[in-house]
């Protein structure tokens, strides 16, 4: 007796999240309609309410999914025992791939302001955890002498901004593959961190 409860997340739920994420990214939360999200899956809009209580819950689930994936990457890197600069490179490269290839650019772009206060609090907290994880890596690099001293917070914001902005210009059919973007971004963002000869 394998019930839905024991067997894990409902496959249809995930399909809905994918469709919603794509719609939200293209049109924004308010710009995308429940009907569009459903139509992309050959469903009727009423049907989505069998799987979610309301539109906002769908948005929240999208946010959570993205955050979970990125936090997973962070923990992998943190426990890898690699050198600090290699850790940061791994995180950037894996992060770009996750955002572009798996989340299709929907990572952290979704409207926050449309979330309910409780959900917003949860997502902000998760985002802060990721930020602070990145900062720990940078501090590690500073202590190891490979990264320059300086405001870690602002540099981490700059790095996250560069990454989060990628979906705004990325074209899957364009000249740059996600692999190239990942590598060149890692090159550039890490080069700015390194100690430069006085």
């Amino acid at each position: 007796m394998a019930s839905r409860e024991t067997i894990g997340p409902h496959p249809t739920r995930i399909e809905i999240l994918k469709s919603a994420a794509a719609a939200f990214r293209r049109l924004g939360y308010h710009g995308a309609t429940v009907e569009q999200i459903a139509a992309a899956l050959h469903m009727k809009k009423g049907n989505l309410y069998y799987y979610f209580h309301n539109k906002e819950e769908i948005l929240f689930a999208c946010h959570q999914y993205s955050l979970e994936r990125l936090m997973g990457l962070l923990h992998e890197v943190e426990q890898s025992g690699l050198a600090p600069d290699v850790k940061v490179r791994r995180l950037i490269v894996a992060g770009v791939h996750t955002i572009l290839d798996e989340l299709h650019g929907t990572a952290l772009f979704l409207d926050l302001e449309a979330l309910s206060p409780a959900h917003l609090k949860t997502i902000i907290a998760g985002r802060d955890q990721f930020d602070q994880g990145l900062r720990r890596l940078l501090e590690e690099g500073v202590k190891a002498g490979v990264f320059d001293r300086g405001d870690i917070k602002l540099r981490s914001f700059a790095m996250l901004g560069a990454l989060n902005w990628i979906p705004r210009w990325y074209d899957p059919d364009g000249p740059a593959t996600s692999q190239e973007i990942a590598d060149r971004f890692a090159d550039y963002l890490i080069a700015g961190l390194r100690v430069h000869e006085a």
Copy 2:
């Protein structure tokens, strides 16, 4: 006989644009209502239609204003005759100040997808011009031997991403002033461009 035509843009139009920009930034284009934009100015929503044909025209005007300001900075820098790395620093510092202090974080964040096809084309074209201006500065630096060879396009996207993301985390009452952000961002983003000893 100073008519509205000869005296320049209507002051009320500008007030509306400011209010709209603030609302769009907080809530997104679809999330912000015409009534809210008007209420912030102690106006009734119907009144806005005396100054603009519709909501989309307001969004377009916001985009245009931001673009004009940033293009102005670009041209100033381009004609300054300074060294390439100093030019880039000037552009970053002035850009951060413009985005935070003058545009109040509304620069390039506004929804593009809500624009009409014709307006969208105009804004995209303007944005491309800015991108290409930045790339010209980078190429100049490469030719002068102060910037590292490498993919200029991707590095310019990384820089613009870092800058455009600032409004997402900036808190006017927070610890970092716009001056500090401008300086530290310039430090970091330019450090990653410089040639590093082989």
